[in-house]
Each structure stands twice: as C-alpha cells, then as structure tokens.
C-alpha cells in the first residue's frame, strides 16, 4: 500500500511540474501561427507534384497570379502579347532576390522555364508545357515566352501553384531540376527553415521579401494525422488554424459542431469546384438520353446539400458554377421532380412492375454507383441517391472501392454512375475541359457513348488555341450546352474551402485556388 501511495504521489508531482512549465510558454507574445494538417509538406520542389501545394505556394512565386478579379501582375510587372498570340513578353520586377541572395532576373526565369520544358512528360496534363517553343532573355529584366500555337489560358496557367514557379538556379542539379534539387530558395514571403519529416515544418518570414512583409514571424506546420486529435489540439490552443477543402481536413459534422460552440471562427469560401455524378453514356441502359435525363430529375440535391453537407454547399443548377469564367450561360436547371423522372422513364419504355422496379423487354432497371471508400461523405451521398432512385423504380447498387481501384475503373470505363469532382478554380474551366479528352479520365469514358464525342474533343482542342475572345465564348457555350443537354453529369453541389481558427487570429482569407493558404495575410490581434 505504501508503494502505491509513493507511486501516486510521484505521478502527481510530475504532472504538477509539467503544468508549471506549460503555463510559462503561454505568456509569450504571439508571432507564430500554428497550422495543423493531416499531411506532411513532403518534397516542396516547385517544378514537381509530390509536395503539399500550400507549402509550395509559401516559398515559390509565379510571374502572374490568379485573383478573383482576373490575372494580376506578380513577379512580372507587366506584359505584352503579340498580335498572333504566340509571343508573351514579360517585364520583370527589378527588386526581387531569391532567399539565397541570388538575383531574380530574366536569366533565372529562362533557366526555370527550360528546366520545366526538359521534363515535359511529367507535365503532360498541362497544355501550356506542351505548347512552349522557346524561352528568350531579351535583356536583364525582360523575358519572352514563345509558343508553338496561340493558347488563350497561358497567363492563367503561368499563375498556377505549380509548376511555373521560380527556384534559385543555385539549387539546380546539373543545370536541371528533373532529378531533384539541392535547396528550396524561392522569392516568396516565407522561407522553409526547418523540416522534421512527419512531424512539423517551420516557415520563417523572408526578411528580404520584395512585397509586403508577412505580419507573423513564423508559421509552424504541424502534422497531425488524426482528425479528432486535430480538433482536440485546436480546443487546447495548441493549434490556431485548420484549413481545407472537400472534407480532407475538417469533416462537415465537426465543422458544424465547432460553428455551434461559438468559441472559434469558421469561414467558408466562394464556390470552388463542382461535385457531380457521371452518367456513363457508353453503357446499355444509360446510352439512352431519356434515362440519363430522368436520373437528373430523380435526385433530390437539396436534401443532399442539407442532410449530408449540412448546408455548407449550395445546390448546383449546372455542371459549372456561374462564377466560373465562360460558364454563366443560364442553362435550365433540372429541379427535383420524381414525377417527371417517372414520366421520362415510362416514355423510354421502362414500365413499372409489381415489385416496385421498372423493366423493359424483361430486363430490370438496375445500375451501379462506385465511390471512393476513403471518403465518408461520398458513401452517405450514394445512399441518398440509392433511395431517390428507388422512388422512381430504379435499383442502384452502391460499391465503395479503394482509391486506386476507383481510379482504375475510371480509366477502364467499367461503371454506370461514378463520382466526379471538377478541378476547381483556377483550373476550371480550361484544364478541366481539356482533361475530358484524356482516356484515363472518367469524364472521357462517360462521354464516349455520345454521338458527337469526336466533335466535342476537337472543339475543346480548337478552343484552347482560339485567339478570339468572342469565338471562345461561343465555343464554351456550345460545349457546355451540349454536355448539359446530353445529361452526362448530374450536378450536385459546388464545394467550398473551409477554415476554422481561433478568434484572435485575423486576416484569414481564401485564395482562388483551394490548395493555397494565404498565411502572409494572417496575424494575431494584440492582447
């Protein structure tokens, strides 16, 4: 018994000691933001894709940036585009240096762009890389990009988080970057000063930054894989900010719970990406446009938005939100109307049987829906849809699959219904539409049954090199109207980026890209 007492006493003493040391650290003035992510920053090589984009964006910058009001100057102060749309001449800022002291000039830009071109295979998804012809140093602060064909989204793509960002040429290995780099010297507001893999990364404000200095001294990126732990760490005050899209950081239930508690500030961005269900037109039952249209009317999107997504996302009347460039077309929304859905199926020859399901020539109206089992939200949405379709006499089999199996199925086209999430701004609409032409994407597979798929792909290809704005508008309208009429997508909702943070943290905003976190604008209110 005495042993037990001594044991208990010593534990109490230890805990007391710990609590004393804890309270000391709380007294210091806050010049650090602690951000929690379930993922490590990994390798933030700006020309490759393995690192976390939010971290890449902190350290490396682009010539121009995508903003809500369009493309704005960044490392380039201004630019001229030649009449034929083939030559882009950028006038660079003259006050920029890399964090290793190296000058940022046209030569550095050329070396970076050459290094990206050298690894063309890796950037196959991005049309601009394939269209780049030459990088020319005009004078010390003037750089010219020459294209093979005119390409209208050139500036948008130059402003993406990767790969067109600039690394000090001193960090290149053998003059290139494809096989790795020797350092992370960028021009951005932050410098990566410490990285303990799978633990944390520390970013320090770049003292020589050309733009407005970040208000905080450091950003500590903590890796906490478990979502519950992240929330507890936030509650304890060890974490100041959680930020993320599509349920990868904060699931919607927790988001609502935190919102209700009122101890934290919750913020939500404008619509970012489109959540939709692909209807594979290349399958026997869904080959009929009337059936596809019937399914559009059968799904109660409002219930999904309210019931599953807790009202945090708005119902999507069309595949792309009217806020996406070229997409404000006034397409007629197919509102929830199970009677209309039944009528369409009836017309298509699917007759209701005693068992509550429809049949045509002895064949039952049954379809399958596949979703990625890692995503809890998709499972619940699938169950809602299953219920809605049963109401109109359609049996839906739902199957959760591992991510890789899900992607394999996309590629092979072995699906009736499948989840689809657009790329989000600033990739929508151009990169998203461009991806419809690639057979590895579910979009391509779902569209292969369409009569005019050949025309669709050609028009998208022509659209990308169309130099005339009004022609482009007409082409987008034609493509998006065709896709809408053919009903290959059931638009569900528009996803949004979410942030939860402590009330003292100010200046939390969203960038156009859901993958970037604007830490440089955040600061703590003085106490």
């Amino acid at each position: 018994m005495r042993l037990l007492n001594i044991g208990l006493l010593s534990i109490l003493f230890l805990l007391l000691l710990v609590s004393c040391s804890n309270s000391e650290s709380n007294a210091t003035v806050r010049d650090e933001i602690v951000y929690a992510s379930s993922k490590d920053i990994r390798n933030i090589h700006p020309h490759l894709y393995s690192g976390e984009m939010a971290a890449q964006n902190m350290v490396f910058e682009s010539l121009v940036i995508n903003t809500e009001d369009g493309i704005k100057p960044w490392l380039a102060e201004s630019w001229d585009i030649s009449e034929d749309g083939l030559e882009y001449t950028f006038h660079l800022r003259e006050d920029v240096i890399f964090s290793d002291g190296e000058k940022f000039n046209a030569e550095a830009v050329k070396q970076n762009m050459d290094a990206i071109m050298d690894n063309e295979e890796r950037h196959a998804w991005l049309d601009l890389v394939n269209l780049m012809e030459e990088n020319i140093v005009v004078d010390e602060y003037t750089y010219k990009l020459v294209l093979k064909h005119p390409y209208y989204p050139t500036l948008t793509e130059l402003g993406l988080t990767r790969p067109f960002r600039f690394l000090s040429p001193n960090d290149f290995v053998d003059g290139m970057t494809r096989d790795g780099i020797s350092g992370y010297s960028g021009t951005g507001p932050w410098v990566l000063s410490e990285h303990k893999e799978n633990q944390e990364a520390v970013f320090t404000a770049n003292k020589d930054y050309w733009g407005e200095q970040p208000k905080m001294n450091t950003v500590r990126w903590k890796v906490i894989p478990d979502h519950q732990t992240i929330l507890l760490a936030l509650e304890k005050g060890e974490v100041d900010l959680i930020f993320g899209s599509d349920g990868d950081m904060i699931d919607l239930d927790s988001f609502s719970a935190l919102e209700e508690q009122g101890e934290y500030v919750t913020a939500i961005s404008d619509p970012i990406a489109s959540r939709a269900i692909l209807l594979n037109s290349n399958r026997p039952i869904l080959g009929d446009v009337e059936v596809r249209e019937a399914l559009q009317y059968a799904v109660d999107k409002q219930s999904i938005a309210d019931g599953v997504l807790n009202g945090s996302e708005s119902v999507a009347p069309a595949l792309l939100s009217a806020t996406v460039p070229y997409s404000d077309l006034g397409l007629v929304e197919r509102k929830y109307d199970p009677d209309k859905a039944s009528e369409l199926l009836e017309n298509a020859g699917w007759k209701l049987n005693n068992d509550g399901y429809r049949y045509k020539d002895g064949e039952k109206l049954e379809l399958s829906l596949h979703y990625n089992s890692d995503n809890a939200q998709e499972k619940t949405i699938s169950e809602y849809i299953q219920h809605d379709l049963k109401e109109i006499g359609t049996e839906l089999h739902i199957t959760g699959e591992q991510k890789q199996a899900f992607l394999d199925r996309q590629k092979s086209g072995e699906f009736d219904l499948q989840y689809s999430l657009s790329w989000g701004t600033p990739y929508d609409p151009q990169s998203y539409l461009s991806s419809w032409r690639i057979p590895a994407h579910g979009d391509y597979q779902a569209q292969t049954g369409l009569d005019r798929k050949g025309w669709l792909d050609e028009t998208i290809t022509d659209l990308m090199i169309e130099n005339d704005e009004s022609n482009r508008e007409a082409m987008y309208e034609e493509i998006l109207t065709y896709i809408h009429d053919e009903a290959v997508y059931i638009p569900l909702t528009y996803s949004r980026t979410k942030a939860v943070y402590r009330p003292k943290l100010q200046g939390v905003t969203f960038n156009v890209s859901q993958y970037e976190v604007p830490f440089e604008k955040m600061y703590f209110e003085t106490e």
Partner: protein, 309 residues
C-alpha cells in the same frame, strides 16, 4: 543446448523465405498496376508512354522470379528501394522513424512492468477484498476498450480538462506520457491477470504453507511466491516486445507520434508499395527473431522444454 539452438536457427530459414515471398507478392496481389500507382501518387497522368517508362524504371518489365530475387538480395543488404512518394531510400525513412517508435515502446514496456507487477502484488496481498476487486474491474475495462478510444479519452481528460500534457506530437519529454500509457493499458490488463492468477495459485502450494509454519516474514514469502509465478509471464512479455513495436500503428496516428507505425499508415494511404513491403518484411522478421529468443530463454530456464523438442 547448442544442438537445440542450431536446430531452431535452421528452422527459421524456410520461414524467412516464406515471409519475404509474401511481402513481395503483396504488390502483385493488388489489381492496380504499381507503375500507374507510382505515377498517380505524384499526380502525373498515366499516359501509355509514362506508364511504360515507369515500368522500366521500377524493373516491372522483368520476369517475376527475377524481380523477386533482385528484391530479396538487395533487401538483405538493407536496400528496400526508394519510396514512390519522396524518392528517398526506404531504409533511411525507416531508420529515421525507428528511434521514436523504440522510445515509445520502451517507455510503455517500463510502465507495463511497473504497473502490472505492483498491481498484481497488491491484488494477491488483498485477495478477494475491495481493492483486489477494484483493480480487477479496472483491468477488465482496460482490456475491453479499444485503444484509439482510450487514447482520445486520455487526451481529452489530461490535455484539455486538466491542461497538464500536450495533446500530440513529440515536442517535449512529456509528450511521450499519453501515447505510452495508451499503448501500455491493453498489455497491463493481460499481465495483471496472468501474474495475479499465478500468484494466487502458488499461494496455496505447500511450500508457502511450510514457510508460514516456519514463521518467515510475510514480505519474504511474497517474494518467493512472486519469483515462482514469473516464468509464464516472462515468456509472454518477451513475445509482447515485437507486438509493442508493431502495435504502435494506431497510437502513433492518434498522438501524431513520428514513428514507423505512422510511416506505414502514411505509406498505405499513399500506396507507397516499397515502404509497405519493407515494413511488412521487417515486422515479420522481428516477430520471428523475438519468438526464437523467447524459446531459447525458456529452454535455458526450464530444461524440460529442451527435451520435448
């Protein structure tokens, strides 16, 4: 004795071959093409040329047996290939994460021994009384509750309600307390029951009665009872060392502890096959080796075991 050890050593050779084979074919059991996976995890569109290039880079174009032999021979030298994700040698990743896991396992091990020994002695001393029953009740709950839940409960209570310990991470020496306790709880339940029951049983043996009759001190008697009840517990404890190391997966994830359990879960989520293979292989080897050591120790302690083999 030497004969026995050599025999046991030889017997693990086919076992190791079997394990390495299983670990290797894991990658071939999945439906997805590893080359495509390697591309996708880096967000590269798997075009035909890209897949073909990656297949060549990973050596997937060679026949199965050749690939297996190459993998085994380089694995023996400690070369498990490079991670798909960050292109670093897998062995470096593991070497970097291992100390954290070993520290966690060691602290848990100490907690397990200290708590189980003292709790089982108290239970034996007060057999059938209130305190014995209370401890057994707690032990019962400890065994029944899942580790991740206990972990979160402890975190909530000690970090948030009492504000005594950090929730997660490896920022200070106090960070190890919660994950180590969580990890230890399940084992403590097992050992308290095992030790207590052994001791209670031995308490009623004749030598204890004689000792009492001879008027020996209570503490001396207790010491003897304890010593005699240790044997099965030592074997079980020996086997729980690899379990502790491999069992850190859940705890490391909840408490953001940067060990190999975390590494393996991250690898599983990212489909980082080389890391998964190496982890499976190394853990299996650890089990085999610990099992062998436990057998040998038992054989040394108890000559009867040697004859039975």
């Amino acid at each position: 004795m030497r004969h026995y050890i050599i025999k046991r050593l030889l017997s693990i050779v086919p076992l190791l071959i079997g394990i390495s084979f299983l670990a290797f074919i894991l990658i071939n059991l999945t439906e997805s093409d590893p080359a495509e996976v390697a591309l996708r995890v880096n967000e590269i569109t798997p075009t035909e040329t890209a897949v073909a290039e990656m297949r060549e880079e990973l050596g997937l174009d060679k026949p199965f047996i050749e690939r297996y032999i190459t993998w085994v021979t380089s694995s023996i030298k400690g070369d498990f290939g490079n991670s798909f994700i960050n292109n670093q040698p897998v062995i470096d990743e593991i070497a970097q994460a291992l100390p954290a896991t070993l520290l966690l396992a060691l602290v848990s091990f100490v907690i397990i021994i200290v708590v189980s020994v003292s709790a089982s002695i108290i239970c034996t001393m007060y057999e059938g009384r209130m305190i014995d029953r209370a401890i057994r009740g707690i032990v019962f709950f400890g065994e029944a509750m899942p580790g991740y839940w206990i972990g979160l409960l402890l975190m909530w209570f000690f970090s948030i309600k009492l504000n005594l310990l950090p929730t997660s991470g490896m920022s200070s020496w106090t960070s190890v307390i919660l994950p180590a306790v969580t990890l230890a709880l399940a084992y403590i339940s097992t050992y308290v029951r095992l030790l207590r029951n052994n001791m209670v049983q031995i308490k009623s043996e004749n030598f204890v009665l004689y000792a009492k009759a001879r008027g020996m001190k209570e503490s001396v008697i207790l010491k003897r009872i304890f010593k005699n009840s240790l044997q099965s517990a030592i074997t079980a404890l020996g086997m729980s060392i690899p379990k502790l190391i491999a069992g850190t997966v859940i705890v490391e994830n909840i408490f953001a502890w940067p060990g190999i359990g975390r590494l393996s879960v991250t690898a599983i989520f990212n489909y980082d096959y080389p890391v998964i293979q190496a982890y499976v292989f190394l853990m299996a080897v650890l089990f085999v080796v610990c099992n062998l050591l436990a057998d040998i120790v038992t054989a040394i302690l108890d000559p009867r075991m040697r004859k039975e083999v």
